[in-house]
Amino acid sequence: MLVTLVLWLNTISNSIAHILLAPIAWLPGWLSASLIASVTGIVMLFVFKQTSNQSALKRTRNQIKANLIALSLFKEELRVCLRVQLTLLAQAGRLLALSAVPILVMAVPMCLALAQLSLWYQARPLACGEQAIVTVHLKPTINESLPEIKLTPTSAVDVTMGPVRVPASNMICWKIEAISRGLHDLTFEWGEQIFTKELAISNSFLPVSRERPSSNPSSMLKYPRERPFAAGSPVQSIQIEYPDRVSWTSGTKSWMAYWFFTSLIAAFVARPLLKVDF
């Protein structure tokens, strides 16, 4: 049930992202990361406004202000100060409670959006001539030996080493070398069965699916681009070790922090324009 739901959500988010995030492919990384973070910040603010009780939030904030003034006026009165501080604590809790609904409303879309953004920023595609390790994870069996799965070289990708079979971990690895740019399919054959995995080769931005996941909801959310393998499939997942993208704004290690801070700044800037209390 949950698997079907996530699959359905991924299908929708992939379709939307295919259109909305398409400019990332031709914009500079810093610009696309900044634009997306700013727009999401403003959208989040708008959704917050629509889904929150603005008058209650405003009232609570005013009460907090009043209590802060009271605190400075009666700082000599210990009992008053204590009472005001308790009230402030309660009002902060109330602010949090009033934000719960919008947070709940935005949680799932934000997770889906971040998963889509990670396709672009979490890793970079292979450059032509660059090598990477591909790992096929198999369903655990009681057999000592692993199946004879073949990875066939194509005009887009060469298989330079492998397979290295790891029976102890039920996995098989190959080393591949990128030959021509574009989104390609790696094809793995085991007898009559064929398994595929998308491979991105480019010197610029392309969506990079690092893993074709198993039918596990959390893996599916994390790697939304490719259809998961069925629960009964002998192949459970296929991973490609893509290189890190190095950039302060759109790089592997920092894109999420950059997105978070930039969207926060955008929300603060837009707040008086949209007249939102939070």
């Binding site: 390790i133 790992t135 000592e144 080493m161 492998g162 397979p163 290295v164 079979r165 790891v166 029976p167 102890a168 971990s169 690895c173 080393k175 070790e241």
Partner: protein
């Protein structure tokens, strides 16, 4: 109203302040730029330091037409032997080059010094790590904080080379100087005026704090592992062709009892594919038998007491899968300090090496890059060592290309180590001694050919330099010493024992079981001999008067009289330090320096004071050539595209010559003279 006026005033203040700041900044930048601007007036001097390049071999190869570019340089400019330091050991020689003066000025007399107050406790001569002071204890941890209110002193490594390096003179005059991998300069000495840049070379440690410790994993290693000089062996136990092990990192010095940090590594081999998969932390590395990986970053986690954030020490290494089956053999290079984010200062200024790493990627940073220990300990065979040394050279050539691209004027120094370490392993001149102690004559000849091939490669580099710059630069190609066969080894402590100077007869090491009350002299390091002098050594017995003088004369006469079984003189000359050294840094100078004849060297055991039953032995090590002989036996080379006037140029003459090229006088601290002046 007041509250409205204030922001306007404030904005004006901000704007005028910003303008003033911008002006001040621009002025400062301009002034700074002026200060940094080169005052070499376009003068270019390039020094190529080729460690261990030998003049005899150069001459014979030039005569045979095998070094056309060096021959061209010699005929258009000059070529000469370059007198080296005594002893002709690299740290001593390069420090003499740096100071333009001998060991008495820089205080480095051997690879290893001894501490007289601790009765010959040995330490490395070029750098020393000083322990920190003060700490607080939290559970199993002992922490040091160098900020108030704690103000603990953190441990630090200090350069022991004393005196004034010649680039200080250039620096003070605004003449830029850049040194790539300069030996005897770790930690790098500071630039006082910002015109000097340097990457430390020989003497730079790995992350373990050693001169290079490889790690070797195999299924036929001793079951408990083995620590051997320069490396560590670990046994792999495969189950279904998978094994788990750990890569050992630096000690966690934050623990009360420092213990090594580790990273888990799983090894999976596929005999059919003749390949293996290594999973090291988050990294997957797939290698075929005989294949090297690229540089891999390793982060060693260091435990800290909660709630302090965890710490890590990072390093870089390369993996070499030597064999998959029947025996699995995996070699990991010493874990080098990461040049892209060095944990300790490797260059002056600090960002010099990170800038290079940003441009070139990762590279070796340890002082000894060719892993001679792996060859000596049998981890590598000759071909594997040569392959690794060639990789190092290729990396150096990439760095050299970077150095030339970023060179405008002033002094450029670039160091090549391959000629030294490959010669140690492959040199054998059969004209001097037909029989190699461990190799057949054809084998020895084929290995010697590797050295000649390397000389030819280096000759090509000089040719390239000549094409690029021609007469627009003053070019020096120099080496710190030459080379000689090392077929026989002499244990000076065993000789002292047999001659009655060191007791008792059963002594196995001067560090453990010598009777100092009956010992008058001892050896420590490669060429050094010390008297057990009263008042200087903790347990000294030799009175520093006529007794010491008489003993010195006796030792010199007897050592120079030592003959090998074939009647050959083992020691060419024994030098008194008081006669050959002068200067303010004599504290650790030995009393006598032994100058071996060609073909001989101090025995391996001698270096750290161990004794062997026999005094003279064959050298069974793949390290079959050396230069720690008498300085007159192993001079270096000096090529220049300018005429040299000095009839017998010396290493100490190069610094004054370089200064002379920039129109600067020779400082009083230098003993050398410009080779361009008669």
């Amino acid at each position: 109203m007041k509250s409205r006026r204030e922001p306007k005033l404030s904005r004006r203040k901000i704007l005028s302040g910003a303008a003033a700041s911008a002006g001040a900044l621009a002025t400062a930048c301009w002034l700074g730029g002026c200060n940094r601007a080169s005052r070499s007036l376009g003068k270019k001097v390039i020094v190529i330091g080729i460690d261990g390049m030998d003049p005899r071999l150069c001459r014979s190869m030039m005569l045979a037409g095998m070094l056309p570019n060096l021959a061209k340089l010699a005929s258009a400019g000059s070529f000469s032997n370059l007198a080296t330091s005594m002893p002709p050991q690299s740290p001593v020689a390069w420090a003499s080059f740096i100071n333009g003066a001998g060991p008495g000025s820089h205080g480095i007399f051997d690879f290893i010094h001894r501490h007289p107050h601790q009765q010959c406790a040995p330490f490395f001569s070029a750098a020393e790590t000083l322990p920190g002071e003060g700490s607080i204890e939290v559970g199993d941890h002992r922490l040091q904080f160098n900020f108030p209110p704690f103000s603990h002193t953190l441990p630090k490594t200090v350069l022991r080379r004393q005196g004034i390096p010649f680039w200080d003179e250039l620096d003070a005059k605004g003449i830029p100087s850049t040194f790539y991998d300069l030996p005897s300069n770790y930690p790098p000495s500071p630039s006082h005026y910002g015109h000097h840049r340097c990457i430390s070379g020989m003497g730079t440690p790995d992350v373990l704090g050693t001169y290079g410790t490889y790690q070797y994993f195999s299924d036929d290693s001793p079951s408990k592992g083995l620590e051997e000089g320069g490396g560590r062996r670990s046994k792999l136990r495969f189950i279904r062709d998978s094994a788990k092990t750990t890569i050992v990192g630096p000690d966690n010095a934050m623990l009360k009892t420092p213990t090594p940090t580790t990273i888990e590594m799983s090894v999976h081999r596929d005999r059919k594919s003749d390949a293996a998969l290594l999973i090291v932390g988050d990294h997957k590395i797939m290698l075929r038998a005989g294949e090297w990986s690229g540089w891999t970053r390793l982060d060693f986690k260091m435990s800290t007491p909660r709630p302090l954030p965890s710490q890590s020490a990072s390093g870089i290494c390369r993996f070499y899968l030597q064999e998959v089956a029947p025996h699995f053999r995996l070699y990991i290079t010493p874990i080098n300090i990461d040049p892209s984010k060095p944990a300790v200062q490797l260059s002056e200024p600090k960002n010099f090496i990170t800038d290079i790493s940003n441009a070139l990627g990762l590279f070796y940073t340890t002082g000894f890059q060719e892993d001679h220990k792996a060859r000596s300990n049998g981890i590598f065979n000759d071909d594997e060592f040569r392959q690794q040394a060639t990789m190092v050279l290729e990396e150096r050539l990439t760095l050299f290309e970077y150095a030339l691209k970023n060179y405008e004027d002033g002094l450029l120094f670039f160091y090549f180590s391959s000629s030294d370490l490959q010669s140690h392993m492959f040199w054998w001149n059969s004209d001097e001694d037909a029989l190699h102690p461990t190799r057949t004559t054809p084998e020895a000849a084929s290995r010697f050919q590797y050295v000649k091939d390397l000389y030819q490669k280096l000759d090509g580099i000089i040719g390239d330099l000549d094409q690029r710059y021609g007469s627009k630069v003053t070019l020096f190609v120099m080496s710190d010493h030459g080379f000689a066969n090392f077929g026989r080894q002499f244990n000076v402590n065993s000789w002292l024992r047999d001659s009655g100077y060191l007791n008792p007869r059963e002594t196995t090491s001067v560090l453990t079981d010598v009777d100092w009350s009956r010992t008058r002299a001892y050896g420590m390091g490669i060429n050094a001999l010390y008297l057990n002098l009263k008042g200087r050594e903790r347990d000294g017995i030799v009175e520093p008067d006529d007794t010491a003088e008489k003993l010195t004369k006796q030792l010199i006469a007897q050592l120079e009289a030592v003959r090998d079984v074939n009647g050959q003189q083992v020691i060419r000359k024994v030098y008194r330090s008081s006669e050959i050294y002068s200067g303010p840094a004599m504290e650790f100078a030995p009393d006598l320096i032994i100058g071996y004849s060609r073909g001989y060297r101090a025995s391996w055991e001698t270096c750290l004071g161990e004794l062997t039953p026999e005094v003279l032995l064959d050298n069974p090590s793949p390290w079959s050539a050396d230069h720690c002989a008498d300085a007159l036996e192993v001079p270096g080379v000096l090529f220049s595209n300018k005429s040299i006037r000095s009839p017998q140029p010396s290493l100490t003459d190069l610094a004054p010559s370089i200064l002379d090229e920039f129109g600067l006088p020779t400082p009083k601290t230098m003993t050398g003279k410009s080779i361009f002046q008669s």
